[in-house]
Every structure is written in structure tokens, then in C-alpha cells.
Symmetry: C2
Subunit: 191 residues, 2 copies
């Protein structure tokens, strides 16, 4: 998605540890015009008529899911992250390693909101090593619902998480894939 | 907002400890039709032409802010919650007591995304004792920007946080105010 690539180059930054800083428009300050175009692009890549539920994870995935949910009239569900294992209630859980918190984090959704009859599109802001995406996929599979694929805004291609999922047959659509990212120098994968 | 009151009665629940469970449509599963109407209602209560920035806090505020941001073409900013005080970077911080985490939590926003010239509308899903709202207001005031008011979807009127803010002259608009909430019995404030 050219508009997104241009925005990353213009307003994004790469920190020395490979962190992509896009707080200008994606995961701190959120630009509603770009987000609307991002939602439209997901609509080109996935058959939204089939989707019955959009699933994401708190926090930064929520804005991405919200714009897509509104545009296509779908409910969305955001998995909660618990840093404790002491969680009650009737939930599906999946433990993933969080690089943000530098420890395992449990993703949780209430069982009542994913039905076996659901066809679920997973959306998120970032895909790096794929841990969060795998956790969300795991939640969908536990419920018996059908995962239609994973859409993410920015994929860190150099971390390989997206390609490992694709190699396993998971449909992964990323709107910008960074082949390499160093301070001052970003190379996008041509798609 | 009648539609919201009816939805709370139909799909919400009150847990014994006064927790209002609205994960069916607001803060876990999100209903895009209701959220669009909620955004429209905020547009009736605040002069959106004046707003230059919508501010909320992660996580559940993000969906509320996203729908309003899209509808009125405004950027939004979500304050990050840090459970640690070891935060670097050029940020405004405000420490609030979180009842969810049962400990102090620091709300943070990057200084570059709130300018003294901004006119800021604060939006959130819940207003209970007002701690989060006060934290967001504090961030706006630190920046020198003008706070236009606080809009929240559900106010727990019986906790008094909204009325204390109103008594201080803060514009607070809540789309449903619960005067009392016990399992099986909710009383709304008539407005």
C-alpha cells in the first residue's frame, strides 16, 4: 500500500533496536484518514462478505479493528492481555511471549463472543515474530470458529514471523512489509 | 441516550461488586452500529468544529475515540498506561490509581502530539470515580492545550466522580448515567 509506505518513510522512524516508531499515525496518535484507507485496503484483500467477526488484541490493534469494523459493519472483539494467570470466567486463553512486556502474557477472550459458526478475520497493527498473531489464531481455533486470515498494517519481514505463518498455509496480508529497517534506512518488500 | 440505556438493560449486567459488565457491545466485543450512534451523540453534545484532537486512554477508550475520530475527521491520541515508572522519552505523565490493576498507573502521552494550540476533547468508555478522566485532563493542562470537556459512554453516577468534576466547572457529558446499579436492577439518572 503505497500511501502507507510513504507515510512510514515521512513520519516513521527506526530506533537502534529495530523498533519501528509510528506513533505519529498508527499506535499512539491515530490519523483517521489513513486508517480509513487502511480499512479499505483490507477490504480489497479479504472477502468481507464472509467475515462474521474481526478479532484483534489490545491495545494498538483496537484502532485498526475499529475502522475496519465500522467500514464493513462487522462486530469486533479485542483480546485482553493479562499479566497474571489468575483469571476467572469462561474464557479461551493463549499464552504468548510479549516483547513489549518482556514476559509471557495471556491473551483472553470470553467464550460467548466467538462461536463455532463464526468466520474470523484477525487484524493487528504489527506482525513481527508472529507471537501475537499465533495467539489470536489459537483462540479462534480453540473456539471451533474458522480463521479466514491475518491482516496486519506493518510486518517486520526481517523477523520472519509472517513468512513462517504463510509457510504453514495461513493467509497473511500485510499492507507494508519491511525487508530491513535501520535508523535512516527502510527497505520495503515489493509485492 | 435511550438506545444505549436499552442496550445496557438488554445486554449488560451488574456484578455483585458494582462492576458493570458491557463486554457484549462496548469494551470487549464492540458493536459498530451502536458505536457509530454513540459518536453521533457526542457530536450533538460537543462542538466538533472546535475540536482539534480527541484524547483517550488505552485500552477500552480507543474504540470510542476511533469511531468519533472517523466520524468527525479528527486525529486521536491514546495515552499509554505504564505500570512502571521507568519510562524514557519526552512525555507528559499523570499518575492515577487504577481500580482495574489495583495500583497506581502512569498515563503518558508524547509531548509532540499535544500542542498548546490544541483544543482537546477527552473521550472514554467509563467514568466512575473520575481518576482516569482527571489524569487525562492533567495531561492536557500540562501541555498548555485547551480541554473542551469530557465525554464518556457510561457514568457510574453513584460513585460521584462525574459530579465532582462538574462542580469544578469541567464540562462532562455522559451518554448514560447510572444512579444505582445492583445485580438485576439498574436505575438511570434522567437527563
Amino acid at each position: 500500500m503505497r500511501e502507507l509506505q510513504e507515510r512510514i518513510l515521512k513520519d516513521g522512524a527506526v530506533l537502534p533496536d529495530g523498533i519501528i516508531k509510528v506513533g505519529a499515525f498508527l499506535n499512539h496518535r491515530v490519523d483517521p484518514v489513513l486508517m480509513e484507507h487502511i480499512a479499505a485496503e483490507f477490504g480489497k484483500r479479504f472477502d468481507m462478505d464472509k467475515v462474521t467477526l474481526i478479532l484483534t488484541a489490545e491495545s494498538s490493534g483496537i484502532a485498526v479493528a475499529a475502522f475496519a469494523a465500522r467500514k464493513f459493519g462487522k462486530p469486533f472483539l479485542f483480546a485482553k492481555k493479562a499479566k497474571s494467570k489468575n483469571i476467572s470466567g469462561d474464557v479461551y486463553r493463549s499464552e504468548v511471549f510479549s516483547h513489549t512486556y518482556r514476559k509471557p502474557v495471556t491473551l483472553m477472550v470470553s467464550r460467548e463472543w466467538i462461536r463455532p459458526s463464526d468466520r474470523v478475520l484477525i487484524l493487528d497493527d504489527f506482525l513481527a515474530n508472529g507471537a501475537a498473531a499465533r495467539g489470536l489464531l489459537d483462540l479462534v481455533r480453540q473456539s471451533g470458529a474458522e480463521p479466514l486470515g491475518i491482516g496486519c498494517v506493518i510486518e517486520k519481514g526481517f523477523q520472519g514471523g509472517g513468512d513462517r505463518l504463510r509457510a504453514e498455509g495461513v493467509r497473511v496480508e500485510s499492507l507494508a512489509i519491511l525487508e530491513s529497517a535501520e535508523p535512516g534506512h527502510i527497505v520495503f518488500r515489493s509485492v
